[in-house]
């Protein structure tokens, strides 16, 4: 009797133990690219933290803004300054979204899946709805997410009215992300 109770208890504990479903990427990469006839500008950030919840499809990106690096120091200073990204006041940008076609993705089967995400991107104090298309690659439990999307700077009150930035920075830039996820322990 005692034995069966113990077995029952063990089964119950196993059954109710939450399955780890959250994936974490602690050093994801975001880059952006701006093209104008005068100049091509790119910047990279390798310090992005992201989570991906397999059960709900929720995706979060937290972006430390001062980790964006530019080829030229002056560009980096402009980027951080009060007039543009104001990174001292707003040190992080954030994307919160959901994979809308989660049912088409099988996390336990190797393959490359298209992932569509809709959500909200917050830069400085402005939050806007965004949609992004990406690919999820699953290889022996390793999950990689690639996305590419366009972004209009003026939507986030990032505007350049005079000087070099107004002619050399594109109105619409391209954002690329790459994240390798591991199970949270």
């Amino acid at each position: 009797m005692k034995k069966s109770a113990a077995v029952l208890f063990a089964i119950a504990t196993l059954a109710f133990k939450p399955v780890p479903s959250k994936l974490v990427s602690s050093d994801a990469h975001i880059s952006f690219f701006s093209h104008t006839p005068l100049e091509d500008i790119s910047s990279n950030n390798y310090k992005v933290v992201s989570t991906l919840e397999k059960q709900t499809g929720e995706v979060v990106f937290s972006v430390p803004m001062q980790s964006f690096e530019f080829e030229k120091a002056l560009m980096q200073q402009h980027f951080n300054s009060k007039d543009f990204l104001n990174t001292k006041k707003y040190p992080k940008a954030k994307f919160i979204g959901k994979i809308s076609n989660l049912s088409e993705i099988n996390f336990s089967k190797n393959g490359t899946y298209q992932a569509n995400a809709t959500g909200e991107l917050t830069i400085k104090d402005v939050t806007k709805p965004v949609t992004a298309k990406g690919t999820l690659t699953i290889l022996n439990g390793k999950v990689t997410l690639n996305t590419k999307m366009k972004m209009t700077l003026a939507d986030y009150k990032i505007t350049f009215s005079k000087g070099k930035p107004s002619t050399n920075v594109a109105k619409e830039i391209e954002l690329t992300t790459l994240a390798n996820y591991i199970e949270q322990n």
Binding site: K22, V24, S26, D27, A28, H29, N44, Y46, K47, V49, T51, V60, S62, P64, M65, Q66, S67, E69, K72, A73, L74, Q76, Q77, F79, N80, S81, K82, N86, T87, K88, P91, K92, K94, I96, L178, N180
Partner: protein, 173 residues
């Protein structure tokens, strides 16, 4: 009217000469000014990134100290450590190595954290300083110098504690 007195003629000649040399000086000054301006613009435009390791350390402290400053008041910690132009404070942080990993740029990343703590200081090295990490092991205590990029804190959307981020790091002790 037989003309000016000879001394007057001399005076006019001198004045002409003075005017000429003033004009010449202005022209030379303008050229120097334009060249200097252009040189400053070119210098600023091509100015290299700050060499963090060659720059004076602003704060020397324990990893847990800076983490706790952020956890207790992120705004005042940002005010203290972040700079508006992105060239934020340079810290020398002492702590225990929790993990050694590599980011997507193949830079070594050391997390300084006590296993009992919620957050630590994540220190990213560079292609030049990566090699200095190779002999280190988790559990060792080291001092790492680098520039702070962002602070620690609990993020409810990630449902995680984020670490303090430092980059351009090197081991100094």
């Amino acid at each position: 009217m037989s003309g000016f007195h000879p001394s007057c003629v001399l005076y006019f000649k001198q004045e002409k000469a003075v005017k000429k040399s003033v004009k010449r000086n202005i022209a030379i000054g303008a050229v120097i000014g334009i060249l200097a301006g252009a040189a400053i613009v070119i210098y600023l435009f091509n100015m290299p990134q700050r060499d963090v390791q060659a720059t004076k350390t602003d704060f020397s402290l324990a990893a847990s100290t800076v983490v706790n400053e952020y956890l207790s008041n992120a705004d005042s910690a940002n005010e203290k450590y972040l700079q508006e132009d992105g060239d934020s404070k340079i810290l020398a942080v002492k702590g225990q190595i929790y993990s050694i990993t590599e980011d997507l740029k193949h830079q070594k990343v050391i997390l300084l954290k006590d296993s009992a703590e919620k957050a630590g200081v994540s220190c990213t090295f560079t292609s030049e300083t990566n090699a200095h990490v190779s002999s280190l092991l988790p559990g060792e205590t080291v001092t790492i110098k680098g520039v702070i990029r962002s602070g620690a804190g609990y993020d409810e959307d990630l449902d995680l504690y984020e670490n303090v981020i430092m980059e351009k790091c090197d081991i100094i002790k």
